[in-house]
Symmetry: D2
Subunit: 203 residues, 4 copies
């Protein structure tokens, strides 16, 4: 009798996984609440192809893949520390349909299947080149979502996306929360995140 | 040859459905971004039993059910106008595992299966009674989530939940967004929503 | 015995005047809370010269002049409706050191005394020209403050100001408030305002 | 020839003093933007009597006194570290009409002149007693303002003030700002502050 290892996923939700559950460095992770809004903006369906460019510790890829049992997520990352976190997290959350791609975007994008959805979590200073490369491959009715925490990224991403013919919506998410376990409840703010969503209007 | 009616769900995402897609009155709906964070706080898994108390137009029930193909959502509502919206929306989004329950909570709760998750979208002035009734039935490791838009509901829900032994976390969600189609992008704010999440610490 | 008319200012504070006290159209006014932060960013002192470009209904000019009994505020405006509001408000709040200048900026700026402070409340599509004209006249250690409610104005103002050698700080102000007189207190959000403050670092 | 020491106030604005200019510990200070809105809510006039209860490092007292050359501010504080900061700041900003009162409120309030305005920056666990003591002495048409950063203080202050017959307005201030001197502008959030303003409706 062979007892194969079986992951116990009973404690993890599909979305809303606690930030602390991910192997990560504190500044790297897309926080729980922003991740949820990001996934909403990505308009996930069951069987899509998604690219996660600058996947960081993989929290967006993992929750997206939980929503797409018949889909495929390609998580691009090249930072060595992030790759370590990513591998740990993909294993921990048994993210079978996330493919880890070691590449510094836009390198590596040409080889991937055409995406329905693209999430840009980090651009490593190559934002314009990445948007160009994505635009060449994105399927019609595709959606690009990008999270900006600086004014510069916000400004440039909107400019580049509009230059390539996209309709752009910006959502600013301000979250503050109390900590459940302290006796008195102080509201602590997260830094605001600008979620840029872009698509091409069909004619 | 018989062509049976087949819903075309191709355009609807699992979560992140546009507010405009729902039959509703403007003030009633839990907006897209807040809905996403609410679902994250509900810690949805594939096969849970959820109660949606004061289901309104049903947007939370519908997206929750999209995440729980093997679960069951009981949507309680008694307002006649809401019931109309709810029926239209359940049909439009083919929400097969949402059960509509015509009742004014806490009435009707006793007859339902024990819930893993409870979302309180509206309480009709019966907040304390509802929390008591929920507390009697909630499974261990269950989670209650409540959305408050007034200071009074925020204050009372935290008080009642703590009185019943729950650990409470409050998340304030402030969203502003630009409209995609206008030429110049003005940030428009939604009213803040306080998402109260409560659970009992296991000993 | 002659009793001359004497304004009763007893009910008006120096800053924090209620929005409803101003003759204005609803969309025009810089709201009470944002006005206060704007004045803080303007670093008002007792005896400065300030330009208020696109003065609208004059609320910023009036409160600034309350803080500068020995200073002078030049309020530029050309819109006929605004001019009516402005005149009414200057009279109502007895703003003796506010000079109304009927001009469409940058026209009219050359004739004014050099400013220590410039507030740009509206630019009428002439933002770059206004910033150029202001930059030619602003005293050393001067401060420019601009309120942006659209992404486009935010982006362009930062770009133009940095191009002219200014250090720029952006403050995003999100305000929500309950109404004092209703029985239950619902938080209502104002649209966010981006307060852009700019100055030249002394060498 | 005797050259007396003369403070150089040329660089300090009346309101909007940079947080870094105050002797303080980081968590103690009411931040610049929140201070401005707090002063607006206090409805300051030229010649009022104000109590600042739990004055901390004195930033609110100092800016309030800048707006009231003919008024008087009584700053109550008993924490030794705060008293050191307070003394340094009153000297630095030449706040001649701020009276430092070493007392742990509500102790010490009975001896003070009746206030037109009361700011409660800290209550040391004596919130109810302080509100009672203030209520006994506040002049008619007086205003109480309190800054809450925890849900508990927010809830209790509204409850106590309403119990004493006050009309209460709550303003939630969410501020994020970029740092002027960094190359790329990241928005950093301050924790939200709830400004509770209370007054009695005249009959």
């Amino acid at each position: 009798l062979i007892k194969t290892w079986e992951p116990n996923l009973i404690h993890y939700p599909l979305i809303g996984i606690e930030d602390e559950e991910f192997a990560t460095s504190k500044k790297l992770i897309t926080k729980q609440e922003v991740r949820a809004v990001t996934l909403a903006k990505l308009r996930i369906q069951d069987d899509l192809v998604m690219w996660d460019i600058g996947a960081g510790s993989g929290s967006v890829s993992i929750e997206a893949s939980n929503l797409m049992p018949n889909g495929k997520v390609y998580a691009l990352e090249r930072n060595a520390q992030c790759l370590g976190f990513l591998r740990d997290n993909l294993k921990k959350f048994v993210a079978r349909n996330v493919m880890l791609v070691e590449a510094f975007a836009p390198e590596g994008l040409e080889e991937l299947p055409e995406p329905d959805r693209v999430f840009i979590g980090g651009s490593g200073g190559m934002l314009e080149e990445i948007i160009e490369a994505v635009d060449r491959r994105l399927k019609s009715e595709g959606v690009i979502v990008l999270n900006a925490v600086t004014l510069d990224t916000l400004t440039k991403s909107v400019e580049f996306l509009e230059d390539h013919g996209y309709t752009v919506e910006v959502t600013c998410v301000n979250i503050s929360r109390t900590r459940g376990l302290t006796e008195y409840k102080m509201f602590e703010a997260h830094n605001p995140v600008y979620i840029v969503a872009a698509w091409k209007e069909s004619e």
